[in-house]
Symmetry: C2
Subunit: 217 residues, 2 copies
C-alpha cells in the first residue's frame, strides 16, 4: 500500500512550515490541505481535538500534532537525509535548542512585535536572540546542524524568515546585521537553500497577513 | 571506562524527579548532587548556562538540560526497560501528551495554586486536567504507557504526587476523586509502584517547602 500523507496547514504559520520542510527534505509526497483558520474543517477538529491547530500530519490515518513532534516523527519514519543527529548526546543538544527557540525566542519576539516598540519587551526578546547568536558563534558552523540543517535550523525557520516579515509588517527592527551578525548570515544561508526556498510561502502574502495580525494594516 | 553519571538536583523539583526516576527505571548508578537553589554551584552554572536550572544530567562530561530531553537521552543510551514506545506513531503520541502536561497542565495548575482560589483560574486548570482525564478514560489502561509507565507517566509525576502536596500546602482542592476519578486512580497506582515510591522525596519536606513558596507558611 502506498503511504497516504496529508498535512493540514495554513500558509502563514511558521509551525506548518517546519512540517512541510521536513517532508520536503525527505522527498515525501503529500497532500497539502489549506485550512481556513476562521472556519476550521471538521477533519482538523477531529484530528487535533486538544489544540484545534495546524499543523496536523495524517499518515495512513494516524494523526500527529505539535510541529516538533511531527518533525521527529517524519525523521523516524522516512529514511534518507537525516534531520536529527544519530548520536544521543548530539540529539539531546538539538532538542534542547529547538525547545529554547519555542519556549524563549518565539514568545518574546512575538511580544516585542506586538508591543509598539516597548523598550523593555524588545530588550527581553534581544536577550534571548543573543543566546542563539552566541551559540552560532561558539559552534562556528554554517548551520546549527553543521554543514547541513537539522532540527534546530528547522525550528529556527521562524527566526530566519518570519522575523524579517514581522519587521516589515510592524516597522520594528528586532534583528539587524549589526546586532546579530551570525544570525543574519545563518538566516540568509538557510533561506537560500533550494529545499527551503521552494517550500517557503511568498513573502508579500505574509507581510499583508501579519500587518493585519499586528494591527498595522 | 565505567560511566560517570551525575545529576544536579534539588529535591522539591518535580522536573528533577523525572530524570531521577528515568535513571532508576534503567538501574543506572549516579551521583546525586543537591543544589542550594539560593546559591547555585559554579558547576551548575557552567553546565546549564542558558537556564541555570536543575535538573542537569552530566554523563561522562557531557551536560544535558531540560527534563524531558534528559529522559529521552536516558532512554536512548541505557537499554533495558523502555521509557518511550518503539513504534514511531506511539512515540509521537507519548511526546504529544508529555508536552501537553508541560505546556498546559503545569502552568495552569501552578497559577491556580498561587491564585488564592480565584474561580476563573481554577476552572482553567481543571479544563486542562479534564483533557488528561478523558485521555486516560479513552485509553482504558492502568498507565499512559499501558501496563507499564512511559514518558507521559513520568512527565505526569508532578500531577500524580506534587499536586497533592500543593493541595496540602495551599488548601486548594484542585483534583478530587469526584471530579477526576481516572487521574486519582492513575496517581495512586503510579505512586505505589516500587521504582517510583523509592525515588520520591518525602512528602512532609515538600509540603513545608511549597507552603513557603505559595506564601502560606
Amino acid at each position: 500500500m502506498a503511504d497516504e500523507v496529508k498535512l493540514y496547514a495554513a500558509a502563514p504559520s511558521p509551525y506548518v512550515f517546519r512540517a512541510k520542510l521536513a517532508l520536503s527534505i525527505k522527498g515525501v509526497k503529500f497532500e497539502y490541505i489549506n485550512e481556513d483558520l476562521g472556519n476550521k474543517s471538521a477533519e482538523l477538529l477531529k484530528y487535533n481535538p486538544v489544540h484545534k491547530k495546524v499543523p496536523v500530519l495524517v499518515h495512513n490515518g494516524n494523526a500527529i500534532s505539535e510541529s516538533l513532534v511531527i518533525v521527529e516523527y517524519i525523521d523516524e519514519v522516512w529514511k534518507g537525509v537525516p534531520i536529527l543527529p544519530q548520536d544521543p548526546y548530539e540529539k539531546a543538544i538539538a532538542r534542547f535548542w529547538a525547545k529554547f527557540i519555542d519556549d524563549k525566542c518565539i514568545p518574546t519576539a512575538f511580544k516585542a512585535f506586538g508591543s509598539n516598540g516597548d523598550e523593555q519587551v524588545v530588550t527581553e526578546a534581544r536577550e534571548q536572540l543573543q543566546i542563539l547568536e552566541n551559540e552560532l558563534k561558539v559552534k562556528g558552523t554554517k548551520f546549527f546542524g553543521g554543514d547541513n540543517i537539522n532540527l534546530v535550523d528547522i525550528a529556527g525557520s521562524v527566526i530566519a524568515y518570519w522575523v524579517g516579515i514581522f519587521q516589515d509588517a510592524t516597522g520594528l527592527e528586532l534583528i539587524t546585521k549589526e546586532k546579530f551578525p551570525k544570525i543574519t548570515v545563518w538566516a540568509e544561508d538557510f533561506v537560500n537553500l533550494e529545499v527551503v526556498n521552494q517550500a517557503l510561502p511568498p513573502r508579500e502574502d505574509l507581510v499583508a497577513f501579519f500587518k493585519k495580525m499586528f494591527g498595522k494594516a
